[in-house]
Symmetry: D3
Subunit: 321 residues, 6 copies
Amino acid sequence: MPERRFVSQLANNEQVEQVFLASNKQLRPNRQGNLFLQLDLSDRSGTIACRMWNAGESDYRGIENGDYVYVEGTAQLFQGAMQVIAQSVKRAEPGEVDESDFMTLQSAELEALRERLVATLKEIKSKPLAALVDAYLSDDMFMDKFCRAPAGIKNHHAYKGGLLDHVVSMMDLVKAVAPMYPQLDLEKLLVGVFLHDSGKVDELEYERDLAYTDEGQMIGHIVQAVCVLDRKARDAEQRSQVAIPPVLLMELKHLVISHHGQTHFGSPKVPMTLEAVTLATLDDLDAKLASFTGLIKECPNADSRWTQYFPNIDRKLWKGV
Amino acid sequence: MPERRFVSQLANNEQVEQVFLASNKQLRPNRQGNLFLQLDLSDRSGTIACRMWNAGESDYRGIENGDYVYVEGTAQLFQGAMQVIAQSVKRAEPGEVDESDFMTLQSAELEALRERLVATLKEIKSKPLAALVDAYLSDDMFMDKFCRAPAGIKNHHAYKGGLLDHVVSMMDLVKAVAPMYPQLDLEKLLVGVFLHDSGKVDELEYERDLAYTDEGQMIGHIVQAVCVLDRKARDAEQRSQVAIPPVLLMELKHLVISHHGQTHFGSPKVPMTLEAVTLATLDDLDAKLASFTGLIKECPNADSRWTQYFPNIDRKLWKGV
Amino acid sequence: MPERRFVSQLANNEQVEQVFLASNKQLRPNRQGNLFLQLDLSDRSGTIACRMWNAGESDYRGIENGDYVYVEGTAQLFQGAMQVIAQSVKRAEPGEVDESDFMTLQSAELEALRERLVATLKEIKSKPLAALVDAYLSDDMFMDKFCRAPAGIKNHHAYKGGLLDHVVSMMDLVKAVAPMYPQLDLEKLLVGVFLHDSGKVDELEYERDLAYTDEGQMIGHIVQAVCVLDRKARDAEQRSQVAIPPVLLMELKHLVISHHGQTHFGSPKVPMTLEAVTLATLDDLDAKLASFTGLIKECPNADSRWTQYFPNIDRKLWKGV
Amino acid sequence: MPERRFVSQLANNEQVEQVFLASNKQLRPNRQGNLFLQLDLSDRSGTIACRMWNAGESDYRGIENGDYVYVEGTAQLFQGAMQVIAQSVKRAEPGEVDESDFMTLQSAELEALRERLVATLKEIKSKPLAALVDAYLSDDMFMDKFCRAPAGIKNHHAYKGGLLDHVVSMMDLVKAVAPMYPQLDLEKLLVGVFLHDSGKVDELEYERDLAYTDEGQMIGHIVQAVCVLDRKARDAEQRSQVAIPPVLLMELKHLVISHHGQTHFGSPKVPMTLEAVTLATLDDLDAKLASFTGLIKECPNADSRWTQYFPNIDRKLWKGV
Amino acid sequence: MPERRFVSQLANNEQVEQVFLASNKQLRPNRQGNLFLQLDLSDRSGTIACRMWNAGESDYRGIENGDYVYVEGTAQLFQGAMQVIAQSVKRAEPGEVDESDFMTLQSAELEALRERLVATLKEIKSKPLAALVDAYLSDDMFMDKFCRAPAGIKNHHAYKGGLLDHVVSMMDLVKAVAPMYPQLDLEKLLVGVFLHDSGKVDELEYERDLAYTDEGQMIGHIVQAVCVLDRKARDAEQRSQVAIPPVLLMELKHLVISHHGQTHFGSPKVPMTLEAVTLATLDDLDAKLASFTGLIKECPNADSRWTQYFPNIDRKLWKGV
Amino acid sequence: MPERRFVSQLANNEQVEQVFLASNKQLRPNRQGNLFLQLDLSDRSGTIACRMWNAGESDYRGIENGDYVYVEGTAQLFQGAMQVIAQSVKRAEPGEVDESDFMTLQSAELEALRERLVATLKEIKSKPLAALVDAYLSDDMFMDKFCRAPAGIKNHHAYKGGLLDHVVSMMDLVKAVAPMYPQLDLEKLLVGVFLHDSGKVDELEYERDLAYTDEGQMIGHIVQAVCVLDRKARDAEQRSQVAIPPVLLMELKHLVISHHGQTHFGSPKVPMTLEAVTLATLDDLDAKLASFTGLIKECPNADSRWTQYFPNIDRKLWKGV
């Protein structure tokens, strides 16, 4: 295999003959009734639009969103944005794919993050919290999913390992912030950070294309996480012979369910403990910084000091001079 | 014991020497620094205000909200409302109390409601639903609590057995309504009705005074019910050897978590199935009719065609002519 | 005439030579400046998109939305949805049209619904209510319009006779529900159901295309209905020599004006009587079930368990497995 | 009769022996079980609190809100506010009352306002508008009520004749403003001003105490006014043999129903014509200026540059230096 | 130069060879990968869409939004709207442009408005207000910008001189309205009108294309105006040796910052003085009348009595019959 | 002087003869018309209610809120809370007061905080930021006020020096958090923290009683701070001969005006830069933690695991077990 040209490296009129991750496929007509295939091609460096003229139902059916596809075509600059005009788009053979080209976080990075997560959690001294955490850490299937899951399907941390990345980042945050407020219980906060988005393991589909699972849409990661926590608490007691006080379990559940901060963001209860307020606020900070940084970085508006207007945050962002 | 005079029967200047249920006790000063005890006295017919002049800390500490208290005093009409001026208020001896005087629903009524509940649920034909229901019905501790719990601490169905009353009433409703909409699955709806408020068993404290439990305030009956449902589903599979399809369990959880209809009423998800819309709307109807009927009935404003203004529903109610 | 092929029956590559109901016509350019005509074709089984290439202003002006049009062309599958590519689209001759092909409810069904409506209303025993109802029932022009009007221009019951369908469905609902709540006055409720949307008779234009009338947009069916009720009450008194008590008339007007439940849905007053709460809630239930059932049924997303996201209800709907 | 001392003139320790208008009567206990009567005493200059110690049910029942009462007692300064400590409070004899002492607007002022109203309306040149206006002006019962009605029960223009005062003030406003915007139809605006609050004639009870009528609460002055307008339009056509175009009547109804500006203020439709926007905005201006001026004038906080905080307008007002 | 054909005069198939103001340029592909240039062409009579087929990056880069461009092409009626199909679009030479063709307000009109503004402000008798106003009036750079600035970039008064036009119009309004409310201080109001939008001088970019400046987006005209006012007050004191009382300056700042009426419209404080309420309400009236009148006038929907639906005002507007 | 007994040390029936800070004085009647004086007494350890029976206008007028008062009386336990029943309450002589008894932060603590503030700011390396900061630091009057001002009049940091305390606490926060997000500019953030609440220096009155100044209520600390910043920027340029780039000044102003996070909290613009999002979120965190910690600590509900319900945060807080 020749060396890969990443999406972010493609130059005008450059030939393209390599594998990408496909998404958002659409078969659309032009006015003459001729169909063309439109889709997005990604690798870990970014995403680029692709069109194949004179395509048909069989081209459309031949690939699925989430497939690795082998594309032959040409990169073309169009109105300031690069796109690929394809001659062919086919499902790639397994041997053609180097998964590391498609992961924002490389295996080694993921591994390092996982180690930092585990190391931080292993330092917890409270017996019941340690027992509980251990019930999660020793569940290999859970941990594997936890370390591969994204934290969302768009906006912030929407990539494999994004959940782990977000959780480790927030652990750093609470370790920096909690010492300034002696009234906060750092260990509860760390467990809260570990668990707050743990329902995303089941809320999201991330083996191929990022999407919500049925249960993710109908129940949501907040309630999913609490159900798992309920089970893990009983497992932990059996495994460790350490009693987990009901009040402690209640406080941990509260950390999970209140972390969206307000009922209209889907939290059935607002934060009612100091740790819950802290978790919800720092989660908001980490998510907003990751998301806004991404919006600024990916802004196609190269000439302007401003990004476009984003309806979901009801504002433009200032990119600076 | 002489025959009881119920709260609703007390007449002006009538002597009072009997047992009541105490709540809302307060020790308050008058302007001379003399303290008086103020509390509410209830039986199944209603509630009346009571004051004991020249009381002290020991009087206040001598009784708890939720206690049965023996009161000696006089009923007095004051500004159109009856109140009791007490000479003494003491904790009652067990032998002095006839519990049936304090229950909105009598044991026989509760028993009848329970039988109707069970009969309805026993008719369910779907194997997984029947297995699941059976796991609840055969849990005596759950069922005992379910049949004693209120449906709230104020407003609608705020009395022991109120949850059962509300659930049976809603079962009648869905049995009447569902046949008109063939697209609805009656059995799912019935199980949804049974479970939607089942978390109130743990959300509320009702052995003595009605109140929220700590967990009720921090987690809420919606999430509490889903955690129990999660466990019961596994129990049911083990007990019955009938598989409960994950999709079915998901739909039942959705019925529970969406039944407040909107996120700002504490539902983490809005109704997304036909049954969930139906359950949320009929729950709203039954609760509003019970609550508004109560507000109209208990309105002290005897001269007026209108009740007072109620801030929580942002309106007055028309009592008619 | 050959037997009709209904919209829902059309197969890929099938020749089409028959009459449809036209709506949403648009003349649009392609990039070469060539125009094409785009419109929707309906019959009682559903709606299908249609395009005629190389059309001109005269084609566009030759038909009106709401016209029956004779179409020659071919059905073609395109991206999972059927469409018609037309060679010609012309206004149909009256003799070519069988109106029953275009009515969701057939004449006999409409007649049966009307009979059920009248029968229910004729059973009202209250003299003033009966007199009032009679003033409507004996107004042939009103009743003709009432039985042809839709209940909306999109969403629920948006077809000729939809208002009648909705009203009879709600009468069944209140007859099933009211007996469970003895505090409700069934006859007032039935008259409220009959009248609540009666302003739609004038709010909507439904002789041809469904649309709002000018008065419908500026005044709205709620106020329109009250003005008519005001007149009918006086007619009824004169016709029947039965006095309609002002308080009763007031309660009926209140049923009408409060039936949207909240001021920001256009009700100038919120429900303040038990009947008004019941009517508003059951109206919401019947409308939501009709609308959501339609959205699920017409969902073009055949592969998915979910409908698309609908912004006006801010959710996707679960279609099930 | 000695010369009246108006409420605004009463000085500390001054003897009081004269007639007032009573409102807000309450019988309240002190901590010893002794009752006292509390009420407000008004005349056209303002309102003052009054207490009579050691009162009983018979004192409370002996007067009604809205009665003229003869009071004997003493004015006393208490915490910066004057109050009356009464020895007796009795219903006044008709001969003791000079109604002009209790009217914000004197008969002559009311008469002058009425003349200005009529003169302005008589100048309308449009035949249909003139015919319609004439149907109101020649209805003596309507006009009598119109000229006595208040415009509210608290806040702005809450006194007999307040509606007339508000309407004449707004007529002056639109006559001043309309010439600057040639796109506005002044005559439609004037009729809109005349009619916009005409439902208050029936919404409010003002023969004695100011209050909402039953119909005012259940239907509201907006819908009440449209029903009357509907009738008057038909009367006008019969009386004058001038046709009132349906579109004109529709626009006038729209002026009435949209004049609260937003649905959550009870308007079933928002303003959709230039005249409706103008009417709603100027009504808001006139009402706010009248209300805020009153709040500043009656502010008991003599030492401060600020009024107290008013929750209904969510602000304090600046009184200036 | 031949006589100009204004945008509003162009007829079907008419040859076009003259200068326009360009905006909203876009380079777009058709389905064959051929690019076309799309832009809007304006003069003082209105705006028309323009397309040039087979354009390229150099055509797109050759002009800027806000440029005067020389266009050769043909006017064509398309679906009821006129458009220009261009053969060439080039930046115009200065000698080809007659600026008066592009100004809604002609120089003489602007001059007259400026004179009216100055005359009104010169009549102010209060010494501190006069001194303050003089500090603005004698600042030539400020006044030049003030008289050229628009009042917005879309909706109301979005043209050069629009700010001046809006301010003079509002001065007329307050001069007509204030005499009816003796409690208002006309001179404070006039200065408030003069200053309320003065921050738009810096908030908007209007030398070429209308746009927000960076500071306009990040700080906003309200805060910008207060900063300038702060400086001008000190200048005024130095120039005139008249002290400007801090309370007066505070009230003027309050007039500026509260003139949007509500915090969610960007006012950091709601109006708390009578003048502030008046200014905010009349500003709303003048802006709405200008904006709605424009929406009705420019409505392309010639056949309908209604404009299209406008999401930002959440309504259609009635154009009348 | 005998050693002070702090508010938090007073025991039941203890004699009290010392100085307190008075606030919330009220003269109130009992039912017999006898007046009593009610006020709050504070020192740095907390606040206690006080009543003096049989007081008069002269007692009430003899002291002002914010005065140091010498109180003779007795501490009494009443319903779980301590109060003082006073025999006399008189303005204290200067010699009787030891100011350090009344300061939450002692002079040495304040001095230390000030040194930390200055040290942090002195480390700023950016020339323009350093110049700007220096213009503030070298303004002794500003710095004196800055170091004495509270951060609010109730809730969080409502004590002299509270602003300084809050700012230093937030500087620690941003120094801990910023290194985790390399995209943040720490120096801009530090200056933003320094300035964000600097308007409170003028918004609040804190020489005696805490209150809002007139300008604080009418303009608000956000706009006040920007006006000062505007002046300081020019001072800084003159003092230092370092140009402050307009874009930098704009970003700093934006940090100030957007720090309430949302328009309905009084920010005229929402945060549009990464630093602004960070500042607003961490300000929210620090304020909530200070406020909630205080609410929990001062909760008089000693028996309960919950605080009372607080309407302004719409929740109870969990105090734990």
